[in-house]
Structure formats: C-alpha cells, structure tokens
Amino acid sequence: MVPSACWNCVLRPRAAATRALLPPSSSAPRVASAPFHSSAAQYAQPAKKKANTQTMMKHRQSMSIRRKKKKPVDRVRPPPVGERKALKKRIVLSNPNALEIEGMADLSAETMSNPSLRGTIMGLPVDKLDQLRAVEAFKPKQSWSLFRRPSTVFRRSTYEMGRLIDQITGDVEGAQQGKVVKKIVTGPKGSGKTVHLLQAMTMAFIKKWVVITVPDARELVSGDTAYSPIEGTNPTQYVQPNATSTLLSRVVKANQDVLAGLRISQQHPALKGLKPGSTLADLAKLGLQDAAVAWPVFQALWTELNATKAAPGVKDEFQPRPPMLVTLDGLAHWMGESVYRAADYTTIHSHDLVFVNHFLSLLTQGQTLGNGGLVLYATSTSNSPSNYSLEVGLDQLAARQEGVKPSSPEYPQPESYSDADPRVMDLFQASMSKDGLLELQTLSGLTRDETRSYVTYFARSGLLREVVNDQLVGEKWSLSGGGVIGELEKVLRRPQLSRPQVATATA
C-alpha cells in the first residue's frame, strides 16, 4: 500500500502541514511539482460510487425510482369555525367613496305606485335595511358595495308590483283586496329576479305586511341540515328542525314590530310553554329556543297569521292580521329528488320534506293565505340544477296564460320517455285551475329610458366618466344583450378605456 505521506513529508512534517493547508493550485499542473508524489490523491475528488444498482438489488425488489419524500410544510391554523363562511356571506351596502346622489327619491308608501317615477332610480328606505338584511334579501354577489347607498331601478314590473301590493292592502280601490296573488318569476340570467323579490320585500315592509322568505331553496334539499321522519305518516314525511328554526328567527327579526302587536287568537294544545294572551313574537321565539318544537311552532304561527277570526274559547279580542308576502329564490332545487336518504337508503323526494311541501302548497289553487298577500317564487339561473319537469311546467304555465287550452295539441306536454317527474307535473296541474290562477312573470331587459337612468346613476355615483348621451346609452344597452340589467352592470363597472373627449379633440 502506498503511504499517504511521502518520505520527504515525514522527514519534514512542518513543511507538509503548510502545504496541506494551501488549496491546490489549478494553474500549476501537479505533474510538474511532483510527478510521483502520492499526496495528489488527497486533493482528488472523492471517487463516485459505481451506479451498478442492478447487481446491488435484492431479489424481487422494486425497480421504480425512489423519490425523496417532501417534508411536511408547517400549516397555519385554520380560521375559527364559521369565519370563512361569514366572510363569504358578508354584505357591504355602502361605499363612502362613491358620490351621493342629490334628489334621489326613496321607495315609500307614496312613491311605490307612482307612475310618474317609472324608469328612475329609487333608494331603498334606510330604516328598512335592517329588516331586509334579516330576511337575507341582499346577496353577496350583487354589487351594492359600489354605491353610496342601496338603490334599485323602478322598472315597469316594479311599478306594477307596487300597485298590486297597494290593491291587496286595500289602499287603492280594486277587486284585489284581500286576495292572494301567486307568481313564479323567471327570466334570463341577470334579469333582476332576486332584486325583484327584494323590491317586493321592501314594499311589503313599508305596508307593514308579514314577510316570510326562503332566501336559498337549495339549503333545504342539499342535505346540509338535520332531518327526521314524522311518525305515522304515509308516505313518510320529514321535518327539518334546524332549518325551520332559522326560518323562524328570520321571521321574528324582520317582523318584530308587527308580530309583537298581535295576540294569539287560536288554541294551541300542542305547545305547552305558550301562555294565553302572549304575542305572536313570543310564539315564534319558542321555536328559536328549542329546534325540536320549531315545526309545530311554525305551524301554529302560520295558523295565527292566516286566521280571520278568533277561535271559540279565546277571550282576547281578535286583531285583524296583515297580508303576507312569501318569497322563495331558486325554485328549481325543489323540483326533484333531494340529497337526503330514507332509512332504506332510497332518496327522499323534495316534496316529502314538510317544509318544502308547505311552501309549494301555497302555489296550488284557492285562497292559500287567509288574509291575502303575495306569493313570489323566483327561479335562479346562477345556481340552478337542470330540471326538465320544471321547464315543461313553466312552458305549460306560459301556454295557459296565452290562452292555449290543455286539450289542444299545441299545449306543451313532456316528451315521451323523457322521465318527467310526475309529482312536479301534478303540482303544476293543481296550481292551474281557474280559481286563484298561478301566474308566470318573465323579466327581461330594461327599456331605453330605464337604461338611461341606470347609466346616469353610474355616472353620478362617479363610476362612469363619460358624457351620458343617446349614443352611449344605446351602446351600453346593446352590449348588455338588450338591457339585461346584470350584464349592463358588468359593462358599466368595467374599467373604462379613456376616450378622447370631443372638446379636447377639437381644441
């Protein structure tokens, strides 16, 4: 074996030590300094191991490439429960940077059926905003946060609704007083269906109606809330206690003033905790404390609100009940099987959930609301399952409205082998009798005048820096597919390319 230190170095250890400290000079070739010097081996790179894995491998070991495992990254603690959802559902109704609009009318008892204000922008009354928030009338994706205060276009359909609400209340002479009007609101995406409901709610609050809303139909059938069967029902019906409790809390929060002024007029033997002479607000609050009784409480509240006279045996004087507004957003979710499963693992049809069934039964014929009111159910296009049966049902409704008889061959029928849901078809059949006809209201684009005031509203709020003239209004109207208000809003809030002003171009 060759010694690592040569004789020369051994004899002169101090010199060897200094040399070892020095880095090997790359410029001077090693051969020149010491051709047979074995210390060069010290400076050499360590020999690579032979990449002879084939022979090294054990019998039947895998030949796949071994990758290094990634080190687990330190995770940040997730935000507390409910915070992310709260952030997602946050609604901002005011933007202090936006300009305030002078002279904008508010929606009020006087203005809501004033034909001269048609096509203008009207602010929502500030004192009703809390109530509107309570019934979840505002949706997170609507751009209320662009403007100083929430306001809506007083469209033709809004004006008609205002007049209808006036008539049902009895403030205006008409045959509609105390009647129930049932409508399904449809229309293309962004045509303002949800805002139409919002306007209805605002008007109902102004008229001191009771407002009951289901802001998202999907929540009831998507399997996200507890359910339990009702004993002794055939076919089995299911109750959703937590969802009902939430509904009651919405009702109480939004209609506190009205409900606190009305006393119980019927017998409720099922509710033990209820004292005689308590108000409807107290009644509703029973369901908030205990979700298990939420459904009986809701039923009791419903009979109270629809009562037209006191039950025998109740001493208190009967106070007349106000009309009711019932709204629903996203009807298509309720027209098929739900995500819930029965005990034998078959899916539960949406109509077997008592909550859903109760609200759908309002569409059927007859005076479904004892003291009159408005039932407004809107379809949704942003969150909607495709539902053939509903499409056919709505087509039938439209045909009925145009005067096509069900016996005529032009009357739309589900295609053979299309697997249309018979329960949905029955529902539409039942709601299309002559008495208390269900109506279909289709919203479409704004008119030119409405578009002009909408564009002006953007300009006056400081969002649009252009001269509002016929050309601009026409351009925006066309770009938005004929004044579809959701599209119009997108077009208008888009960052504007700076156009050369006419004045500067000529100068």
Partner: protein, 119 residues
C-alpha cells in the same frame, strides 16, 4: 370529543369521515348507516344527539368490523394455505395471488403476503 364505539372523535370532524376510520367501513357503508338513523350527510360529530351516538354505537357493535373483520380475512387466507390450494401457496410465497405477472410491479404482495400475515 365524542366516543363512538370506544373511539374518541374530535367534534369538528365530519361524522361520515369519522365512521370511515373503522376498518371495514367505507363510503357506502357509512352513507347507509347515516341514512338508517336519519343523519344528514354533512353532519359534524358535535351535532349528534346522545341517542344518535348510542344508536350508532349499537349498530357498529353488531357489525363485523375492526379486529373481527381482520381475523376473518386472516382465517380465510389460512384456510387457503391449509387446504394446499394454489392461492394459499402464492400467499405463503409472497407472490401475487390472482394471476398477475411477476416480472415487475409486485411490491404489494412482496410486502403483504407472508407466512404469518398481518393486517
């Protein structure tokens, strides 16, 4: 923390996923269990009522899961070995049992198929 069949589950967890922690319960079985006791699919462990916990535990204790199921599987393999079948021999040799090729990709049988198999 909620005890289901002697196992402690954090309250924030989904009940369906928690049930799937048991050996022998997968997606299908856990969904069916939930349906049987009318529990909605996105239920958290914290939302369970006491009665539901007892019901679930009772149902789970009737089922063949965890060690019972492991023992059953091992017994099945043992039976194959004892009767001297081809499948039993392959189990014992650490080779794939169901006719797969053995030239490559037999990591799993090498790992699992032993004389004294563990589950």
């Amino acid at each position: 923390m909620v005890f289901i069949l002697g196992v402690n589950f954090p309250e924030r967890n989904l009940l369906k996923k928690s049930l799937e922690n048991f050996f022998g319960i997968g997606n299908n079985t856990s969904s069916r269990l939930l349906a049987r006791f009318h529990i909605h699919p996105t239920c958290r462990v914290s939302e369970l009522a006491n009665k539901q916990v007892l019901d679930l535990t009772a149902a789970l204790s009737d089922m063949r899961i965890e060690n019972d199921l492991r023992r059953e599987v091992l017994n099945d393999i043992k039976r194959l070995k004892e009767t001297g079948t081809y499948r039993g021999r392959r189990h014992a040799l650490g080779l794939p049992v169901r006719g797969q090729r053995t030239r490559t990709q037999i990591k799993t049988p090498v790992k699992l198929n032993r004389m004294e198999r563990k589950l």
